[in-house]
């Protein structure tokens, strides 16, 4: 209770001190005003100087007076309690009505949060700096000047080479047919038809696979205007799941120095879906789980697993 009272007294002194500061500021301003105006026009030069000096002295005295007043008041105000780590915001804890205005606890929470956030962000940034997963040229180097140098050579592969690699992969797998389109510029879009099971659309950037989407064999791969549809998802849950897994596979197969190996590994992996509806899960031995067949294929062994059985 004593604290509360003293806070009240301090407040009075505070307002007085604030007005004292205002007075000090205005008297200081007057000093500079008079200096700026210079000597007033009087009959003799001496008279001019005398008047100016006496006026200047007056003003300086008033500055001195105001300053003294302020110093006196500042003693009354007292020091802010430094015992509290939150300084003056710690005074919020004195609020007796905790239920209505839980400001203090919220403040503490926010403080903790921001501390944690900073800590984790630091950890994350140091981790991310170690891994360079730079798959597109835009992320390469902040300075525009250096960018052409940093750009990986794998992004400037001539289209003929891409065609070559793709057709070689197509010949490797007889049950898989690969059609190549270039709807927009040099970037290739592959339409992979796997047996009578699925159709996958693979969007490439030179020899990097950017995106893939898997649909059922009988679903449309062309949109209404006759262009290849690289956006809409499959209507079937199985193939939505397979699309998700294929995207995971894209991130898994990474070998920036040899992009053709990456494409080949991905296609080999994708080919294991030829038995999507025929292979039971290697762990639980069943075909169905929550209405879905084993949609996951192991990246190394290509064995079939349910999504939840693979761990």
């Amino acid at each position: 209770m004593a604290d509360v009272v003293s806070v009240g007294v301090n407040l009075e002194a505070f307002s007085q001190a604030i007005s004292a500061i205002q007075a000090l500021r205005s008297s200081v301003t007057r000093v500079f005003d008079s200096l700026k105006d210079g000597m007033k026009n009087k009959e003799t030069l001496e008279g001019r100087e005398k008047a100016f000096v006496s006026e200047f002295q007056d003003i300086l005295q008033s500055v001195n007076r105001d300053l003294n007043e302020l110093e006196r008041l500042s003693n009354l105000v007292g020091r802010p309690s430094e015992s509290h780590p939150l300084h003056n915001s710690g005074l919020l804890s004195l609020d007796p009505v905790q239920d209505k205005t839980p400001l203090y606890s919220q403040l503490l929470q926010a403080y903790k949060w921001s501390n944690k956030l900073q800590y984790h962000a630091g950890l994350a940034s140091s981790l991310l700096n170690q891994q360079s997963l730079k798959r597109s040229a835009n992320q390469m180097g902040a300075s525009a000047k250096r960018r052409p140098k940093v750009q990986p050579s794998t992004l400037v592969i001539p289209p003929q080479y891409v065609d070559d690699v793709i057709s070689r992969i197509g010949r490797m797998f007889p049950d898989m047919s690969i059609e190549l389109f270039r709807p927009n510029g040099t970037s290739a879009v592959l339409l992979v038809t796997l047996g009578k099971v699925l159709k996958a659309i693979v969007v490439m950037r030179s020899l990097f696979i950017d995106r893939t989407i898997v649909r059922a064999f009988n679903e449309n791969v062309y949109s209404e205007d006759g262009k290849i549809d690289i956006w809409s998802r499959s209507n079937y849950q199985v193939f939505q799941k397979v699309t998700d897994h294929a995207t995971t596979a894209l991130l898994h197969y990474q070998l920036p120095q040899m992009p053709d190996v990456v494409v080949r590994s991905f296609m080999t992996w994708l080919r294991s879906y030829i038995k999507l509806f025929q292979a039971p899960c290697q762990r639980c031995g069943k075909y169905l789980q929550d209405g879905l067949p084993p949609t996951w294929r192991d990246f190394r062994t290509l064995e079939a697993f349910h999504d939840t059985c693979r761990q």
């Binding site: 009578k196 025929q278 039971p280 169905l288």
Partner: protein
């Protein structure tokens, strides 16, 4: 587009072989029980369906007198393909036509006579569970319920043999041990791609079984 498998657990068989249905349960009650099972499984009801079949017999005098076995023509409709009409000969070809084929049949009265009172149809609820489509129908002939049809489709797969094991497992989950062997259609085109007429062939087989099952002497042809 779809792979269809259809089978027919005759109501009596259901009663005595597997699900211990209490004595005196009707077809309707068994259907309700199956509906409940499907819903417990997590299937969502999506409206209704029907499949019907009209029988015509080739009434041309030449055939009738020649002593050959009489040929039947079946005209079927399926709510899944509302803009088509299917005409089938037993063990013969299946013709997919526009819906106004019915009108044509009326014009061909002198060759094909409608066997009135021989119309068989199956009506019931349509359920979706993940990518499965289940149609649970009551087969009626005239005004009496004759049995239950269960049609199971696994929509993403178009090759029948591929998904057979998978479908077996699904059917076991709500029919327990009633699951039958692979339908004959599978054997006819082992590598073939499913077409809607395959469904109709299966339904026709099923309906013919229902007709044979009726032991009572009636005006029907068999």
């Amino acid at each position: 587009m779809l792979l269809t498998f259809l089978f027919f657990p005759i109501f009596k068989w259901l009663q005595c072989v597997t699900v211990p249905v209490a004595e005196g349960k009707s077809v309707q009650q068994t259907v309700e029980m199956l509906n409940k099972k499907l819903e417990q499984l997590g299937a969502v009801k999506q409206g209704n369906f029907y499949v019907d079949c009209e029988t015509y017999h080739a009434g041309a005098p030449a055939i009738a007198n020649s002593g050959q076995s009489q040929k039947f023509l079946y005209v079927m409709h399926n709510s899944e393909a509302p803009l088509s009409c299917f005409a089938l000969f037993e063990n013969g070809p299946c013709l997919v036509a526009d819906p106004n084929f019915d009108v044509l049949m009326v014009k061909l009265k002198s060759y094909f006579q409608n066997a009135k009172g021989n119309k068989v149809e199956s009506r019931g609820a349509r359920y979706q569970y993940c990518d499965f489509l289940v149609k649970l129908g009551t087969i009626t002939m005239g005004s009496s319920a004759r049995g239950i049809s269960v049609e199971v489709e696994y929509c993403p797969c178009i090759v029948a043999n591929d998904s057979w094991n998978l479908m077996m497992e699904f059917m076991q989950s709500f029919l327990s041990s009633h699951v039958p062997g692979a339908p004959a259609v599978f054997g006819v085109k082992p590598d073939g791609i499913y077409s809607p007429s395959d469904t109709m062939v299966q339904y026709l087989e099923l309906f013919n079984k229902v007709r044979k099952q009726q032991a009572t002497p009636s005006t029907g042809m068999r």
